[in-house]
Symmetry: C2
Subunit: 350 residues, 2 copies
DNA sequence: TGCGACTTTGACATCGCTGTCAATCCTGCT
DNA sequence: AGCAGGATTGACAGCGATGTCAAAGTCGCA
């Protein structure tokens, strides 16, 4: 397996010796550089295979002045654990996959996007760990000062966000359109008083969800009543609170669409508490398709966000940006509707 | 801020020049090596501060033949997303904190502990990323071949597990004792027919929970009825299934203690489905205190596992092992009882 | 056959640190 | 004052790659 006489890992020198070429040529082959004769390339490849050679990352980093390290920066999920935790798992999965394929290692960096020391913290991360590029997950992708700093540092990054930033890639999903689709579905069930629970304003994508709600009403020719739109903060508890306010009205909505699953789960909880049968008297829909959605009672109709694919795509784009491929600025990965048990026909008017 | 004339980061040479010493001395100071006169040390420290010097990680890695990289290896939570995701967040948080404090970067490596290619996968991880040491989270800490391989490679590692492995650190919690405490609490509420839902057998810590259940019965002088112990697999769904089996009996248990929160949540779900009021007719207790526990209805009485602290401790021990401090083999981090709404006095006999 | 223009290839310096080992400095003692 | 022996310090050789640049090889065409 190890072919040099020293019982150590094979180095580039070993490969060069075995292939009868210089180390520079081996380096060229390893890095897929042009101007190597096919025959030479084959010889080197064979030697690499024979010796089970794998380049020493530290040496490459030092000589090439890059780290082969990406950082995935996201909001610390211990703040709002549940849905986020699952979201983060997908983020990790996608980013790890793409990073590995690109030959990069991935550093994770959960942080508080509202922290005053955020800029310094990221600067230090980049500086100390010599990160080659960053993937900014929402809501960090919306934090202007961060974007500004990275641009000033000339450090490559990719944002997972619907917003555009000149000269940098961004991956987003069709939040608005898919919300229109959800509304279309609810309307088709006969719902007319459909409430909406807004998410936290710092998440731009979540703002798009509200616009989808409005578009959906408009499309169905239903009035937009401001009394039916409440502000939540993405947490389960805020779902409970908003649910309570909506459901204790004399003329309560027949359907509640929450901007994320946690809040929708909060609404379900509140409905159970108030003994309002779901979906018979009330339909509830969420957004995200976190695993919680399948575990609440009744299971939650929601929108599946392709978080993993988005993270994977973003990481791949980061790599491409680093090797010089042209940027796209906006890349779409589509969400889909997932219909479960929490939605049903509107109750007939009494 | 940057003190050399080149507008680049300061290097060890810059610091040496400024302090009027050799680079070797700077290296000594940076690495806290002995045999440097205090005055010299101070001069060097001052120069480091002036130049805002931070050693180049790649160079250190290359020269020192170590990577300053730890890998945190755990079972891929996308398999059983909910509770695990939260568990994993804590794992990350603790390990990141300790790694950062030790000057290490942390690579995360979610994987399938049952995969046939696991050994090769880890070998490759160690080989390619030149990991200095690994933190094995359960259930990976129990996989014998992995432990064997790491020992053979001479690669330092720490296990998060109640089991011992000669010569290596392990961090565990008092699963058994705290389960006895839970039983004591249930018994104090008047429960006598207390069922237990076992977890997946691959998690050793979960086996200890069952022993705590048995000890608790014994301590209270209650009989151990095998009909009251069912096998789950840690998933919500298995909780639903076991709950169904237990609750449709003519003489059903008045309390159900599940070896993790997901299964307990499944039991709650099933109780709701069968319209059995909790905690009036049935008390339910879980284990883990995942955030789900606060979001189910009613909120779940459970046992808080200090996962974050365990991970932090484990990582710290790994670092200490690397720098040569003596091993402990077993380090305890205590769990605590969390009483919420899902438990109450046993219903009076009819 | 000879020549310019590419293509291939390799020698060697370099990246910024740590390890080795010898040189120099200090001590306390005689 | 002289000396052994430990405490300090530094010179220098790597670590294993990549970057630079010049040498050697090829090819087409006059």
């Amino acid at each position: 397996m190890e072919g040099n006489g020293r019982g150590q890992r094979a180095t580039i020198d070993d490969v060069a010796a075995r292939a009868g070429v210089s180390i520079k040529t081996v380096s060229r082959v390893v890095n897929n550089e042009p101007n190597v004769r096919d025959a030479t390339r084959d010889k080197v490849r064979a030697a690499i295979a024979d010796l089970n050679y794998y380049p020493n990352a530290s040496a490459r980093r030092l000589a090439g002045n890059r780290s082969f390290l990406f950082a995935l920066v996201y909001d610390d999920p211990s703040a709002y654990p549940d849905a986020s935790a699952n979201y983060v798992t997908n983020l990790h999965g996608g980013a790890l996959k793409a990073a590995r394929e690109a030959g990069y290692d991935l550093l994770i960096h959960p942080c508080d996007y509202q922290s005053s020391g955020l800029l310094e913290e990221l600067d230090q991360l980049i500086d100390h760990s010599r990160i080659d590029g960053l993937i900014l997950a929402p809501p960090l992708a919306e934090v202007k000062p961060v974007v500004r700093m990275l641009r000033k540092l000339g450090k490559p990054f990719v944002r997972v966000s619907p917003g555009k930033v000149q000269g940098y890639d961004a991956v987003h999903t069709n939040d608005r359109e898919i919300c229109v689709a959800m509304m279309r579905y609810l309307v088709s069930l006969g719902h007319e008083r459909i409430a909406f629970i807004r998410g936290h304003e710092d998440h731009k994508a979540i703002g798009d969800r509200e616009r989808g709600y409005e578009d959906g009403l408009r499309e169905a020719g239903l009035p937009l009543r401001s009394s039916l739109v409440l502000q939540g903060n993405n947490s389960f508890d805020s779902g409970v609170a908003c649910g309570a306010r909506l459901l204790q009205r004399k003329r309560r909505p027949t359907a509640i669409f929450a901007a994320n699953d946690d809040m929708a789960a909060g609404v379900l909880h509140q409905a159970l508490e108030m003994e309002i049968p779901v979906p018979d008297e009330l339909s509830v829909a969420g957004f995200d398709d976190v695993s919680l959605a399948q575990h609440v009672f009744p299971t939650l109709t929601t929108i599946h966000q392709p978080v993993k694919q988005m993270a994977e795509r973003a990481t791949k784009l980061l790599f491409e940006a680093i090797v010089g491929k042209p940027r796209k600025e906006r890349t779409l990965v589509e969400s889909t509707l997932v219909i479960r048990e929490s939605t049903g026909p509107a109750p007939s008017e009494r």
